[in-house]
Subunit: 381 residues, 2 copies
């Protein structure tokens, strides 16, 4: 069986885990956490980095930082993970869902402005499959209406956006805040894990406080205050050094991991593009302003029946393809809270998208086999 | 220098970490998470166990489970960690602080009933130093007023309470819910980490959903539902297998860890009791209904000046004693929200308590040295 995902170990994870364990410091904010913060900030130009126990937690920190209050509205795509929405709902927000683009599961940037009311506080673009949303468009709307932009960059490590100014910026460095995931299904992993990038300087001091359970402990250790105490709301957002030492081994090998994943991705692309075109099946679209971080290779069938046939064919040949999100506006939890607007494209991607196996150790033979299995039929939908 | 704490490794941590890493499953809710759940449930008679990324997160799950709403009141001691309070404040609660006992930093159980209003929803007793609060008294009040009891058992692993019925019950198995910590400063550790014990069956199904980001994913994997989706609020409360595999090594050695810590604790007790009595300095008091899990050995000076002298003496002799909480009702964050009641005992413990080094690898010679340094003076306060 070719699995959908296999966590990749660079070889140094256990070494750094040992080092953390035997150094006697395995709670949070130790040596490896600092190393990860510094590396990520410097490499991608984030304002400030704070590792978290998950991307969910990074989004929750963002919701606290922008001070979401009961009834505030937050705009995000319906085609996303539940945590994108839950993080804001936990603070009392109402979620205003937007539909996807026709060419891509990401948020339809042009639909955002019409969803803004005087209660709107934030836009949360999700860089689906690590492919940038049109950030110029989104940042301009945010500026016009005085909104915060929180990039859900869960899948978007090492991916970029080039705006009208011609500058190529890392995803997660553009919005006021951005959340990343290091879940084992991502390019760079730590089992569970995430990071908040804090680009807007107004949030940087408070972010440290919220991260440290609402105390000014970080300031205390930096010698900025005499003693530390309870100064704000907050949670235990910081991960153990067991997590950050593991992550450090991954970050050291980021270039190699990315090159390998891109090679796999390109092989899929070359092998499937003619078949896809002929059969009106979508494969990933990378806009000119975006780069590809090879987080995901997906195909989009014409309808649910066709997807079912493709998934079955894959399974019959020992290949695990998987679908992805289900439109959140139609979920059991939110359907009664949603304003009733149809989201045809979000539903289409919910019904028709298939993610193909993509992980470091996938072999050329395996990719060739997957391609052959797929293109051997046209799956009349 | 004798440190205050040194995380203890049983020797198997790295082995199980390796096993988790090479098994290819390092996200949450894998083999080691299940082993920890089962072990803890069976050993201590908890209704259901769910590991969390921290005790803070376990308390947050509890606040969600009892459905705390804006303005609900929650009673807890002022002498506790900020997370005890923040977890409920994040859901909109108002904290009603109670003072400590005269003989112990734990909540004065007899003061609770007078703090109850028609807005009170829960009581959160904190088993300070792993020593039980009088749970019969608290559970009876809760029953009378239809309140939930959430045990903050952060320090209370492997400690017990014997009620009027003569049954010896594990702390954390008595309240409707209970939160434990496996932070590196605790008896049993995983760097950062915690657990929610869910004793009241009405919460057990929903707890799994909240734990899994508000989805019914657990039910899906158990074959109880056909597909899983968004059904509730929730967060990413579950820890990586990196954390639970480490924790498993600790749990396998729980008996040895506890025996060793108790030997250290008893040595402190025997060495300091006469000096303490003579100098009117408090040392730990274990009520008849409680057991001692040797989480902490503390002494309580007569006043802040005397504490300062003792801490200085220790430091001058290469020993790190540390104080503990600061009254939360007087914190920068809460002083304006507090109703103004004085909490003399909470302030007294804030000003006067010293925790002495206590960890597995502490030697008899080191304990003897610490005792000798302390009893060589009477520290006129």
């Amino acid at each position: 069986m070719i699995p959908f995902n296999k966590p990749y170990l660079t070889g140094k994870e256990a070494h750094y885990l040992y080092d953390a364990v035997y150094s006697g410091k395995i709670s949070g904010n130790g040596k490896y956490t600092q190393k990860c913060h510094e590396f990520l900030k410097n490499k991608y130009g984030f304002g400030k980095c704070l590792l978290t126990t998950s991307c969910t937690d990074a989004l929750e920190m963002a919701a606290i930082l922008i001070n979401i209050q009961q009834g505030d509205e937050v705009i995000m795509p319906s085609y996303t993970f539940v945590s994108t929405a839950n993080a804001f709902i936990l603070r009392g927000a109402k979620i205003i869902f937007a539909d996807s683009r026709t060419d891509h599961p990401g948020i339809d940037e042009h639909s955002i402005e019409s969803l803004i009311t005087n209660k709107t506080r934030a836009i949360v673009p999700v860089h689906y499959a690590g492919v940038a949303c049109d950030m110029d468009l989104i940042m301009n709307i945010a500026k016009k209406y005085n909104l915060f932009v929180i990039e859900d960059a869960a899948q978007a490590i090492d991916s970029f956006y080039t705006g009208a100014d011609g500058v190529k910026r890392a995803l997660g460095s553009i919005g006021h805040l951005a959340a990343f995931s290091f879940h084992e299904t991502k390019n760079i992993i730590s089992g569970e894990g995430g990071m908040l990038a804090i680009n807007d300087p107004q949030f940087q001091k408070r972010a440290e406080i919220i991260w440290e359970k609402g105390t000014n402990r970080s300031a205390f250790f930096k010698g900025e205050v005499d003693k530390y105490g309870w100064v704000d709301i907050g949670s235990s957002f910081l991960p153990s050094e067991l997590i950050s030492s593991f992550l450090w081994a991954q970050l050291e090998n980021l270039e190699d991991i990315q090159l390998t994943r891109k090679r796999h991705w390109n092989k899929y692309y070359e092998g499937l593009k003619d078949w896809a075109l002929k059969n009106e099946i979508k494969i990933p679209f990378i806009p000119d302003f975006a780069t590809n971080n090879a987080h995901m290779f997906y195909i989009v069938a014409k309808n649910a029946n066709q997807r079912h046939s493709i998934l079955k064919k894959l399974k019959d040949n020992g290949i695990l393809g998987v679908f992805h999100y289900l439109s959140l506006h139609k979920s059991l939890f939110y359907i009664d809270k949603h304003d009733g607007r149809e989201m045809a494209l979000s539903d289409y991607f919910s019904d028709c998208l298939i993610r193909l196996p993509l992980f470091y150790e996938l072999t050329n033979d395996e990719i060739n086999k997957i391609i052959e299995v797929i293109i051997s039929e046209s799956y009349h939908g």
